[in-house]
């Protein structure tokens, strides 16, 4: 038995709806539950699902307005049944249909005249759907169809281009523009993540009394530990990084020194019971966030094992690179770790800026073999420079020093991490 597809009643007062899009073609095989049709009522689009599996017959074309309950399509159980239905309704539905029921969308003469400036944008329905699904900005597409119409291939090219260079600087014509006597190479609008970074960084410096103390830590034992952990990659189920170990050591240290795990909020210093360690991660330009920086947060890091921390960080970072981060993944931090030893950084110091409203941030540099004096002799040891920025409104020099010395103790005697 053929099943009918009709306009559903989506509310007490609903009387009619306009067909917007058939998701399948005449005769296509569809499965029960597939979205087969999109309708619109009250400026709301609604997806109509197939009530059964079978072959689709389109009885009413798009842009036609139908009453609630009207049958607009059929689902045939077999090829023979489909043919019968098509014969009864006078062959496959033809794409004529009433002109858009929404008289509103018909251009008035006045508006057509106003349109004098240059070529109007035109696009085929298929190209439009593709652009919609891929969030393609039509102003970035040149139509190659008849009369400059944007066709499917144009959108496909735009999708490829978007993949290759997301958020690339807008393709501006190369006119030697000048500002204040200086030639301009390009302009990048301050928006999105860039804007967020700009305002957060500046707000942080404007708000807090930040100072940075620097030093270096010997990493001989930690380096051995990490090499051993790498050998256990299979057993651990993750490739442990130095960052993972730092997060664990920081969490353990914060547990002992709650005044460093604190925020100054409206005349009150709040000591956090939760120990949530954020890790600043640079994003490569080749993802759809267009580079920038995010700070995934390992929640309750003091209650997690090294392997758990490692897996969690990897998970959030890959989500970030795929542009699938949820606000929860990057919020709620109480302390931040940032690696200064990244691209071009090398062995070095910095003055990290606190991630507000936290009170401290630790910057770690690359581990490099350096000459150091031990028992009166110059020896070579792997050393890691650190830069610890804290908010002097909340933390004085002594607790800051205590934090670093306890952390140093853990990192130079990593067996203590087991305690």
């Amino acid at each position: 038995m053929a099943e009918s597809i009709h306009i559903p009643k989506l509310g007490m007062s609903m009387k009619e709806a306009t067909l917007v899009e058939w998701k399948f073609n005449e005769g296509d095989q569809i499965e029960k539950g597939d979205v087969v049709l999109v309708i619109e009522t009250e400026k709301t689009k609604w997806e109509v699902e197939a009530p059964a599996s079978g072959l689709l017959h389109i009885a009413v074309e798009i842009n036609v307005t139908e009453k609630v309950g009207a049958v607009v399509g059929m689902i045939a159980g077999s090829k023979e049944e489909l043919e019968t239905i098509q014969k009864d309704s006078g062959a496959p539905a033809v794409a004529v249909a009433e002109p858009a029921a929404a008289s509103a969308s018909a251009p008035t003469k006045a508006s057509a005249e106003k349109a004098g400036k240059g070529e109007r944008i035109r696009i085929t329905p298929v190209a439009r759907r593709l652009a919609e699904e891929n969030m393609i900005d039509l102003t970035s597409v040149t139509g190659s169809g008849p009369g400059g119409r944007i066709i499917k291939e144009d959108i496909e090219r735009a999708i490829e281009a978007k993949k290759a260079a997301p958020e690339a600087a807008p393709a501006e014509t190369a006119e030697a523009e000048e500002y204040d006597g200086k030639k301009i190479k390009g302009r990048i609008p301050l928006r999105g993540m860039r804007k967020a970074i700009a305002s957060h960084m500046h707000a942080s410096l404007a708000t807090a009394a930040q100072l940075t103390s620097m030093g270096e830590l010997e990493m001989t034992e930690l380096k051995k530990l990490r090499e051993d952990l790498l050998k256990q990659e299979e057993a651990l189920g993750t490739r442990v990084t130095y960052t993972d170990i730092y997060v664990l050591a920081i969490a353990k240290t914060l547990k002992q020194l709650p005044m460093v795990n604190a925020s100054l909020i409206e005349d009150e210093v709040i000591l956090w019971d939760d120990i949530n360690v954020g890790v600043a991660v640079a994003l490569e330009g080749a993802d759809d966030l267009g580079g920038g920086l995010i700070v995934p947060v390992v929640k309750n890091a003091d209650r997690k094992s090294l392997a758990e921390i490692s897996k969690e960080l990897k998970g959030i970072i890959s989500k970030a690179r795929e542009g699938k981060l949820m606000p929860d993944d990057v919020s709620g931090g109480t302390f931040t770790l940032t690696n200064l030893g990244g691209p071009g950084g090398g062995w070095g110091f910095g003055t990290p800026i606190i991630n507000q409203p936290q009170s401290a941030i630790l910057g770690t540099g690359s581990i490099v073999d350096r000459p150091v004096v031990k028992d009166g002799k110059i020896v070579i040891r792997p050393m890691m420079p650190y830069s610890f920025t804290f908010d002097h409104r909340v933390i004085d020099g002594v607790p800051a020093g205590m934090f670093m010395s306890r952390l140093a103790q853990l990192l130079s005697n990593p067996l203590l991490l087991l305690s």
């Binding site: 619109e40 609604w46 919609e132 606000p327």
Partner: protein, 224 residues
């Protein structure tokens, strides 16, 4: 009272905000998260609901490019509209399975939130039987366009607070040719901040839809 999770996103790219809506929508359909409301502003962007809408775009693609305005075809109801800085955009991700399954009631409630918010600012606004949205006299102050998947809503409303209304001259807003647009600041003749309007709107949203608000202390803006 049910909880409404509110995300204040600040200025957000259309594409990025859309992606975030999609994520929330899928999670809401799966009942993994509570109802949510995204509040944000977009960089200058035109969106069209269906292909015929391009008839209501009055300038060429090059002209848009020159002015730095993006143009996206989108999957909401309604015709062409403009978004940009100074316009408060709200994307409610609400599960109507847990309310009346009634589209008109939902749209009515959205309009009611905006009408009450404007009333708090001493602006008297009305509905129009023929055109969804909120009007002050013959001028539109808020546009509405929605998509519903499995009774969960996405897209939403755009309320003109202190935006540049001249951009609307590039289009026939919502395909309507014989009416104008207006904004809160234009009507009041004084500055009203986005924060003030946002705050009032949230209170009215929680009243009309009967929610307890859970405002994400730190939002996606924190992708720092």
């Amino acid at each position: 009272m049910p909880v409404l999770k509110v995300y204040k996103m600040g200025l957000a790219d259309y594409g990025r905000a859309y992606k975030f809506q999609e994520e929330l929508l899928l999670q809401r359909i799966g009942r993994e998260i509570p109802d949510s409301l995204l509040l944000l502003e977009h960089p200058p962007t035109l969106t069209i609901g269906k292909e015929g809408d391009l008839e209501n775009l009055l300038v060429s693609g090059n002209e848009l490019k020159k002015r730095g305005i993006a143009l996206f075809p989108v999957d909401r109801g309604g015709s062409i509209t403009w978004h940009g800085p100074g316009q408060l955009v709200g994307y409610p991700i609400l599960d109507l399975r847990e309310r009346d399954r009634d589209i008109r009631k939902f749209i009515d409630a959205l309009e009611e939130v905006i009408i009450r918010t404007l009333a708090d600012l001493s602006i008297q606004s009305t509905r129009d039987d023929e055109h969804v949205g909120v009007w002050v006299g013959q001028e539109k102050i808020a546009a509405i366009g929605v998509r519903i998947n499995r009774w969960v809503t996405k897209h939403g409303f755009a309320l003109n607070v202190n935006n540049d209304l001249s951009h609307f001259s590039l289009i026939n807003p919502c395909g309507i040719t014989d009416r104008g647009v207006t904004s809160i600041v234009k009507l009041l003749g004084r500055d009203v901040s986005m924060e003030t309007v946002t705050e009032k709107l949230l209170i009215n949203f929680s009243d009309v839809f009967e929610y307890e608000l859970d405002i994400a202390a730190r939002s996606t803006d924190d992708l720092l």
